[in-house]
Symmetry: C2
Subunit: 316 residues, 2 copies
Amino acid sequence: MANELPVFADVLAAAARIAPHAHVTPVLRSRSLDALAGAELHFKCENFQRAGAFKFRGASNAVWSLADADAARGVVTHSSGNHGAALALAARSRGIPAHVVVPEGAVKSKLAAIEAFGARLHRCAPTLAAREAMAAQVQRDTGANLVHPFTDPRVIAGQGTAALELLRTTGALDAVFTPVGGGGLIGGTAIAVAGVAPATRVYGAEPEGAGEAFESLRRGERVTDLVPDTICDGLRGTIGAINFALMQAHGIKILLVSDDQVRAAMRLLWERLKILVEPSSATVLAAVLRNRDRFAGQRLGLVLSGGNVDLDDRPA
Amino acid sequence: MANELPVFADVLAAAARIAPHAHVTPVLRSRSLDALAGAELHFKCENFQRAGAFKFRGASNAVWSLADADAARGVVTHSSGNHGAALALAARSRGIPAHVVVPEGAVKSKLAAIEAFGARLHRCAPTLAAREAMAAQVQRDTGANLVHPFTDPRVIAGQGTAALELLRTTGALDAVFTPVGGGGLIGGTAIAVAGVAPATRVYGAEPEGAGEAFESLRRGERVTDLVPDTICDGLRGTIGAINFALMQAHGIKILLVSDDQVRAAMRLLWERLKILVEPSSATVLAAVLRNRDRFAGQRLGLVLSGGNVDLDDRPA
C-alpha cells in the first residue's frame, strides 16, 4: 500500500478488522470538569486501550491488513514509544515476528514493555537517519513489512476508529479534539468525523514546544526543522507529509498549549476522572480550558490518547 | 430505622432508590494482572462513583429513604472522609441541609470537598466521644437525621448495590473481595452476594495495622481497642456491632495485607488499569496476590472502593 490518502471507507474497514482485537474504550464524563470548562466534555479514554494507547488501533489494522504470505515475514517499525509496543502486541496476536528499531538512550521501561510483547529490539544511534537506515536493513534481512508510526495509511485509518466509537457513543458533537504529534491520530480522526458528522469541527492540540503542525499550517508548507522541547514525550515527532496533506484537506485548526497548562490539565484528569493519562493526552483538556470562551456551552469530544506515564517521574 | 440487620430486599430496594442518582460504575479487566494473579480478575471501579467512592451509594440510600417531613430537617454525620463528602452530595441532590462533624486536624482538601458539596462543617476535638457528642448536639439543635458512616442499615444496604451490579456484569464468580474498615461495604456485599449467588464466597481485605475485623472474628467477639497504624486512611475505623454480626452471620473471612503489599498493589492498579485508586482500594488486589495459590484459576470480583487519593502525597 503506497502512501495515498486514506478515505472514510478505510476507517470503516479498519473498525471491522480490529474489532476482534482492540477494546471499545469507555467515554467518561465529569460534572466538575464540565463546570470548569463551561462546556460539556466527553472523554474518549484510549488510555484504557490495549498496550495503553490508541496506537494499538493503527498497528492492529496494519498487521491484519497483510496477506498471509506477507504477514509471515513479520513487521518492522522504528519507535521507542507507544507505537513500538502496540505493533509488538498486534504482531503477537497474529503470531508473526515483530522487529522494533529503538535509539540508544530510549527509556528502559518502554523497551521492557516492547520486549514483553515478544518483539525483537534493534538498537541504533539516536537520529532519524540512523533509525530509518536500521529499519531498511531489517527489511532487507528479514523481508518484514514496514509499518510506519504515523505516515502509513493503514495506521491512519486505524487511528480514526477511536473517533467513530466516540461519536457513536455521544451522538452529535460541536467539536472533537486530539493531540497532534506525527499526525496519525488527527488525520484518521478528521476522516472519520467528516464521514460521520461533517458539521463537527476537528481541532489538534499541540505543545508550544513542539508546534510543527501549527507552524506548517500557518506557513502553508510542511515544517520539519523545529527542535522539540516539551514534556509531552509522545508529541515530539515531525509531522508527516501525508498527515499534513490530510490536515490541510480537512481544514484542521491547531491550538497551542504550554507545558504548564498540560501539567495542570493532567492533574485535573487524575483528580477528577480518577484515571491515569500521559502528558500528551492532557493537551486536549489544556486546549479547551485555554480557549474557554470560544467553546463555552458546546458539546465537545476529547480523545485521551494514552496512559503510559512513567510513575517514577511524577507531574508537578 | 433502628439498627436491625438489613436483608436482601433492602439491597434491592436501595438499588431502585439510588438508580437516578448513583453511577453504574464500570468493571475493568487486565490481562497482565490476570497473569500476575493466575486468576481472572474483575475490578468493580467505585473510584468512578460520584464523589469518588462507593460511599455515595449508602449515603444516597439513606437520604432518599427519609420521609419528606424528616428530610426537610436535613442530615448529620461525623466523618472527615469519603462518607462526609458523599452525604453532602446526596443531601444537595435532594435539596436538604447536611451537617458534617469533623475533627480538628482533618485533611484540608477533604474538608474543602465536603464544603464544596454544600455541607456545613462542625469542628470538634479529634476523639470518637467528641465527634459523637457534637453530632448529638447538632441533632438536638436542628432536628437533622443522623446517618452513621457504617452502622446505619440504610447505608449498609446501599453499599451492597455495588456487588449487585458487579455480579450482574460478570455472571458467576468464585469469590468477591472488598476492603474492610467499619464494615459497611463488606456487610452490604455479604447480603447482596448471598441473595444473588449464594455459592460465591465473600472475603474482606484488611491492613495488618488495622486488623480489628480479623481479630474480632478470631476471638468471636468484637474488638474495638486496637490503635490503627496503616496508610489505608479509609480503613482506620472501628468495626461496628451490626457489621460484626453480619460478618459472623455470613461466614466472612478476612485476609490481612501489609502496607508494603498495599503500596505495590496500588502501583499495579495505576500502571496496568490506568486508574487512580486510594490505598484502601488496593487492599483487595494485595490480598489476592498474597494468597495466589488459594485463588489460582478462579473467577474473582474485586471492589475498588474509591479514588480520593491525595496527589500531593504519592505512593512509594
